[in-house]
């Protein structure tokens, strides 16, 4: 207890230790929060759920907070769902069936055009598919007919940009622009067109052929920014992966570092205590393991057996048991072995294992902790490296996988910098946090270094 207090008092003298400690604490708190707030199952659904889960999110857009730094504000997504009461609904009997009117009203104040516009219908009917026509009303009172279509049972989607008729109509009225520009642009556009600000309305006028027909529609005007993290090429909210990356990285880094340092230390202690053949053997194995191509072997394991993060973790620990740390620990154990209290223990007849685990190992803990903390970043980055190579865990969202998606989809070339920078920044902060803490702890626990 006293040592812990002393250590804490020492830490206060090192600014980098405080910064590192704060980062680590923040990561731990974030990880606990994430695991509770977005349970594993939900995270997997949100990350792997398929098109339906993310259809109302825009594709590859930066986070919303970049608007703070821009004079021309980018639009955010407008998502109006009639099932959530976002549309004025009017139903009137008409012959044997009924007429359904859905009126959507939204205010558009952004300085740029939306990314795309879609309407998702949810329809059920008895015999004949209802018929719908969509009309667009601009703030300056123009009325543009969008489309007439039959609504098939179940989910149907109408994508503005894929309707050739609409494209032709807009080309005639406005010019050669996509619908999301043509419907928002002010009339007689200048050199660089700007959207008309104000209240837009969209009317869906449907004719149903039986009274039980149910029609619902979700109008999505996709923005050019989204949430706190932006989205990727599959419209997934990057927030999920960035948040869940934290507990995964911490768990992997911590377990791998703890697993390797503790086993390495025990093996070093065994070698020093039994000396002779055992020690020699351990040293030779260490030299061999040092030269094994770790990453290619992990790549083989990932390709041939399992990409599960836990298998990779196991193999990593297995290959690092005889790691380079053995030499350092060995030197220290050599000194401890000669201390009088070990001799005393031997004299009263303590067994070999008792001496190793009760007398040698505890003495090295102060040295072990900084080593362990310093090792964490390298394993966090190892996981990211494997993910970037396409050998990440098939289910879990991790930072490395976000980077891989970004690089594989050409984010650096398409100037989608947020996509690469967000996970990289998180990796960097995590790595720096642990490394700074570890380096300072090393100086605190091993005062010999402090003089330098």
């Amino acid at each position: 207890m006293q040592t812990v207090k002393d250590a804490l008092r020492e830490i206060r003298r090192y600014p980098s230790a405080i910064v590192g400690l704060l980062i680590v604490l923040m990561l731990v708190v974030l990880s606990i929060y994430v695991v509770i707030a977005i349970p594993y199952r939900e995270a997997i659904t949100l990350w792997r759920g398929g098109e339906g889960t993310w259809r109302s999110l825009p594709r590859t857009v930066p986070p919303a907070w970049i608007n703070t730094f821009r004079s021309q504000k980018l639009p955010e997504t407008i998502d109006l769902d009639s099932r959530k009461g976002a549309a004025e609904r009017q139903e009137a009997p008409l012959g044997e069936g009924k007429s359904v009117t859905l009126l959507y009203t939204f205010d558009y104040q952004a300085d740029d055009f939306p990314r795309e516009i879609n309407i998702f219908f949810e329809t059920s009917y008895k015999e004949r598919a209802p018929f719908a026509s969509i009309t667009w009303y601009t703030p300056d009172g123009r009325e543009i007919a969008i489309a007439d279509l039959a609504l098939q049972a179940g989910s149907t989607s109408y994508r503005f940009a894929q309707d050739d008729k609409l494209l032709r109509r807009i080309r005639r009225q406005v010019g050669d622009v996509p619908p999301e520009v043509g419907l928002f642009v002010a009339p007689n556009p200048p050199e660089n067109p700007r959207p008309l600000k104000g209240t837009y309305r969209v009317k869906i006028q449907a004719t149903a052929f039986d009274p039980e027909t149910q029609i619902d529609a979700e109008l999505v005007v996709y923005g050019k920014v989204h949430g706190i993290a932006g989205t990727d090429h599959l419209r997934r909210d990057l927030k999920i992966a960035l948040l869940w990356g934290a507990p995964v990285a911490l768990a992997f880094g911590l377990l791998a570092a703890a697993g390797t340092t503790i086993t390495t230390m025990i093996i070093a202690a065994i070698g020093v205590w039994f000396s002779g053949v055992v020690d020699n053997l351990i040293q030779r194995i260490t030299e061999i393991v040092l030269m094994l191509p770790l990453l290619p072997i992990l790549i083989m394991v990932g390709t041939f057996y399992s990409r599960s993060i836990w298998v990779i973790l196991g193999v990593t620990i297995l290959l690092s048991i005889f790691g380079s740390g053995i030499k350092t620990y060995r030197a220290v154990f050599m000194q401890i072995r000669e201390s009088p209290y070990v001799e005393a223990a031997q004299a009263y007849g303590a067994s070999d294992w008792r001496i190793i685990f009760r007398y040698l190992v505890p003495r090295i803990v102060p040295m072990l902790i900084p080593n362990l903390v310093t090792l964490i970043p390298s394993y966090v980055f190892l996981e990211a490296s494997l993910a970037v190579l396409g050998l990440g865990d098939p289910q879990l969202p991790t930072w490395g996988k976000v980077i891989q998606d970004a690089v594989a989809n050409g984010a650096p070339y398409k100037a989608l910098y947020y996509w690469v920078l967000e996970p990289s920044a998180l990796l960097m902060i995590t790595g720096l946090g642990f490394a700074m803490l570890g380096f300072s702890l090393d100086r605190i626990f091993n005062p010999r270094l402090r003089e330098m």
Binding site: R284, L295, P296, I299, T303, T374, P377, G390, L427, A435
Partner: protein, 373 residues
């Protein structure tokens, strides 16, 4: 007079035999290390074989190899040209069966594994399933050896650059211990926890994506310049970013730890004595600080080089560098098993050769090896 005349050659003989024994010691040390390293390679490759074979993949490689060879033999044999397709197929199958029996593919795994080991060690790596070399060959050995120069060029230059730059900076910092720059390097040393590819992405974003002054990756411009000079210049331009990334990723930690070594050695008593004798700062640095620190530095550098090598697959992928590492990455993407196993084998060799080279340098530098202590 005559005594002196005799004495001088005797002295020469002595020094010659001293040189000889020094040389013999270095040679013996190098030889022992060479043998050890070769054993290491054998173990590494055997491990590769074990890992790869647990899924039966090594068997597949060899069987595929035999099938390819025999099919080509039969198809290209002018004596068999008039044989019908069915008869030809039968002949091929029969030959394959015999060949597999001859090579002992029906033997237990323990025996087979040593045959695999022998094949891998002699670089008989079989035929790729999907990948081709630039000359169109399917041989894994050719595919990989063709990519070796690019990898050696990149990592060779990067290693040498890194070594001398770190040494230079560490010496300067050790002279001005506690200055702003010294503290800056100490503060920045934790940044070395991130690997080279990670900084590579940032550098690509800045210099290629944003400033557009350096290429995104690859070895030369496309189309490649015709004249040799322009070609070399183009390669040089493409080398800047990768080398920068490798340097940034390890220089701070190297400089920090090497400067610490220098500081430790400069507080030794003999350095104080040299100062008291009135030797110049440069002379003290060269003879009494740099000289005894070099073996430690070489050992430290060895670890850096190993970690750089190990990171090659991903580093080359990020920079689109047409080397060995990217071949491994492509093979993973195509699930081309023979190439994956072959790359691992070549990486094991490369690591061993690097360690061996540095060991020789170590043997020359470390007086304990020379005197035989």
């Amino acid at each position: 007079m005559s005594e002196q005349a005799v004495a001088i050659p005797r002295k020469k003989v002595q020094s010659a035999s001293f040189l000889q024994s020094t040389f013999a010691r270095i040679l013996r040390y190098t030889l022992i290390r060479g043998v050890t390293l070769f054993i290491t390679v054998i173990i590494g490759v055997y491990l590769t074989v074990l890992v790869a074979n647990m899924g039966g993949y090594v068997d597949q490689i060899r069987k595929g190899d035999i099938r390819e060879t025999i099919t080509i033999q039969v198809m290209n044999n002018p004596a068999l040209r008039n044989l019908g397709p069915d008869a030809k197929r039968q002949l091929i199958e029969e030959k394959i069966r015999l060949e597999e029996h001859r090579l002992g593919l029906d033997q237990p795994f323990l025996i087979r594994s040593f045959r695999f080991l022998e094949n891998a060690l002699t670089l008989r790596l079989g035929f790729a399933q999907l990948m081709n070399s630039n000359s169109g060959s399917r041989q894994v050995k050719l595919i990989l050896l063709e990519r070796l120069p690019a990898t050696l060029l990149l990592f060779g230059i990067a290693d040498i650059f890194l070594f001398f730059l770190s040494l230079f900076l560490a010496l300067i910092l050790s002279r001005q211990y506690g200055s702003f720059w010294d503290r800056l390097f100490v503060v920045l040393s934790p940044t070395s926890s991130a690997p080279g590819w990670f900084y590579g992405i940032f550098l690509i974003l800045i210099f290629a994506g944003w400033l557009r002054i350096l290429p995104f990756g690859d070895l030369v411009d496309a189309p490649a310049p015709q004249s040799r000079l322009l070609y070399a210049l183009s390669v040089g331009k493409h080398l800047i970013l990768p080398i920068m990334a490798l340097t940034v990723s390890s220089i701070f930690l190297s400089v920090y730890s090497w400067r610490t070594f220098f500081l430790i050695y400069s507080s030794e008593d003999y350095v104080e004595l040299a100062k008291a004798k009135g030797l110049s700062g440069r002379a003290i640095e060269r003879r009494y600080i740099l000289r005894p620190t070099l073996p430690t530095i070489v050992t430290n550098f060895l670890l850096t080089v190993i970690s750089l090598w190990t990171g090659a697959p991903i580093f080359e992928t990020v920079f689109n560098w047409p080397g060995l590492g990217r071949a491994l990455y492509q093979a993973v993407g195509l699930f081309d098993v023979p190439v994956i196993v072959g790359s691992t084998v070549i990486f094991a060799y490369l690591l061993a050769i690097t360690v061996f080279l540095l060991d020789i340098i170590y043997a020359i530098l470390d007086p304990r090896v020379r005197v035989g202590a």
